[in-house]
């Protein structure tokens, strides 16, 4: 079973995706902020980490950079999820090594579909 970490500082948004991923058959880890996300990645070793960009403590870009810079964690596929959609943000997303960059608003069904693709690929 594929394990997915989902990190979002908003409890409802976390619950929406978490419920859906579980229904789709993923094992789900949850984090409320960036540093918690990093701890979960280190301890739970999920295959995929979905990170909201705007999070307290460490933002999604920073967590992604730390994951990709860590030799043991670098294989984790990182999905950045953000309301920002400027070229600058996409640039930073690519620069920190994200595997997928999803822009909100997005139907949660679409998020799960993209995660399933990522899990297969």
């Amino acid at each position: 079973m594929t394990t997915v970490l989902i990190a979002d500082d908003h409890a409802d948004l976390l619950a929406i995706l978490s419920g859906r991923l579980k229904a789709a058959g993923f094992e789900v880890l949850e984090a409320k902020n960036g540093s918690e996300a990093l701890t979960q990645v280190r301890q739970g070793r999920p295959e995929i980490a979905i990170l909201d960009v705007m999070m307290p403590e460490l933002n999604g870009f920073q967590v992604c950079r730390k994951i990709k810079a860590d030799r043991e964690l670098a294989e984790t596929k990182v999905v950045l999820l953000t309301a920002k959609s400027t070229d600058a943000d996409r640039f930073w997303g690519a620069e920190v090594g994200a595997d997928l960059y999803l822009t909100k608003p997005i139907d949660p069904a679409e998020v799960v579909r993209r995660i399933q693709e990522l899990a297969l690929g």
Binding site: D12, L17, G19, A83, S85, A88, F91, E95, P105, A109
Partner: protein, 409 residues
């Protein structure tokens, strides 16, 4: 509109009668014992008649002794009229400026309120949309068919609302280019040298790991720029990380900051990022700034975005010819306040000379500004190239303030 006001001091009182008789339109002429008394009158005089001349900011002074020269009477009346007109124009301009300033403040507050509202709305809309979609897809268990249809419609409507919020923006302000409008609204006066230091600081760890030294040299008089700091920082980080990737261990990257131009409107701050790597292959050089083009299998977005950001600022990002390694040249226009105006202020302390000049300019039909104008506003008008200004009797402190605005004789 109050009529031209002439204050006659001491012996100049002899001129009052001839002036009053010669005037064809309403005029106010009063005799005072001293300059202080004249300046303390209910209104500030437009013209001061005195035996030895005087240097008073914003007041035109005319030398006029006890003997009346009938040939000068009309000239003096004319000058009083010009000065009065200038005073009224200055008052109107000050009023318009204060209205404009209040409007700008309101406009900025409205912009912030709009942005805050959008920000506040996005999360609850996303929550509503997400839960509706989950209901639609039976994530919380199967729903009766009618409820299922309602959830489907609700989820579609919420997604539509979320999309509308995502695209909502105010129309561009007048004079603001449509492209890069979001960034231009966040521009401020920036010290490029400090930003270069910040970028170098961000990449210091990376440079250390790669064994590459970053050295920066700043030339004299590098002008401040008017820019969006995060945007320019992004360009700098990108140029530097590019250079870091291509510089062999043990070698260094040189950052050189200089001024280009003489201080006129074309003046720019120029940053050259020079590395000693193997350089960009000749076949890649023509399209190095295109999206998707990269020399090392990376995304190839960085240089394209950097060039766009530079151009949004009215600047440029180019590749220089270099015998060895690579040199990128980033040019950004100087903050307008750094540039010297083409119309220069002339300071004239001799009241008689300024009087002659005023008369000569008026006879040539030139627009003049004399009298009490706020120094800041005056500087702004001159900087905009709208006006040449002649001042009589300028206090040294005001001259210094004008100099500080980049305006000089």
């Amino acid at each position: 509109m109050s009529p031209p006001f002439i204050a006659a001091l001491g012996d100049s009182a002899a001129w009052v009668e001839p002036l009053a008789q010669a005037a064809v339109s309403p005029i106010r002429i009063e005799v005072f014992d001293s300059v202080e008394q004249a300046l303390g009158a209910s209104e500030r005089p437009d013209l001061l008649l005195c035996e030895r001349g005087a240097a008073i900011p914003g007041v035109t002074a005319v030398r006029a002794g006890p003997t009346v020269d009938p040939g000068r009477v009309q000239d003096i009346l004319q000058l009083a009229e010009i000065a009065a007109r200038a005073r009224i124009q200055a008052q109107e301009a000050a009023l318009a400026t204060s209205r404009l300033r209040r409007y700008q403040e309101w406009s900025a507050a409205a912009e912030r309120a709009f942005a805050a509202l959008l920000h506040e709305l996005r999360t609850p809309v996303a929550v509503a949309q997400g839960f509706m979609a989950n209901l639609r897809d039976d994530i919380h268990g199967p729903l009766p068919p009618e409820a299922h249809l309602a959830a489907e419609r609700g989820a579609a409507a919420a997604l539509h609302l979320a999309n509308l919020l995502g695209q909502a923006k105010l129309p561009p302000a007048p004079g603001r280019e449509a492209k890069g409008e979001a960034r231009s609204s966040q521009r401020r006066r920036i010290d490029l040298a400090a930003l270069v230091q910040e970028a170098a600081g961000l990449l210091a760890g990376e440079a250390e790991r790669l064994g590459v030294r970053i050295s920066a040299e700043t030339g004299a008089e590098v002008p401040k720029i008017w820019a969006n700091a995060p945007g320019v920082l992004q360009v700098l980080v990108n140029l530097l990380s590019n250079a870091l990737r291509h510089t062999p261990r043990g070698e260094s990257i040189r950052l050189s900051l200089a001024k280009d131009g003489s201080g006129g409107p074309g003046t720019r701050a120029v940053l050259r990022v020079i590395d000693s790597g193997r350089g960009i292959p000749a076949e890649l050089r023509p399209q190095i700034f295109e999206r998707g083009v990269s020399g090392d299998g990376r995304s190839g977005l960085g240089l394209a975005i950097s060039k766009e950001i530079a151009e949004e600022h009215g600047g440029s990002l180019t590749l220089e010819d270099q015998a060895q390694g690579t040199a990128f040249r980033l040019e950004l226009p100087a903050d307008p306040r750094e540039r010297r105006p083409e119309h220069k202020l002339r300071f004239i302390d001799d009241p008689d000379l300024s009087l002659e000049l005023l008369a000569a300019l008026k006879s040539r039909g030139l627009a003049l500004s004399v009298g009490p104008v706020e120094v800041d506003e005056l500087a702004a008008r001159v900087l905009l190239g709208q006006e040449s200004v002649i001042l009589s009797g300028v206090e040294p402190a005001r001259v210094e303030r004008l100099w500080a605005h980049g305006v000089g004789p």
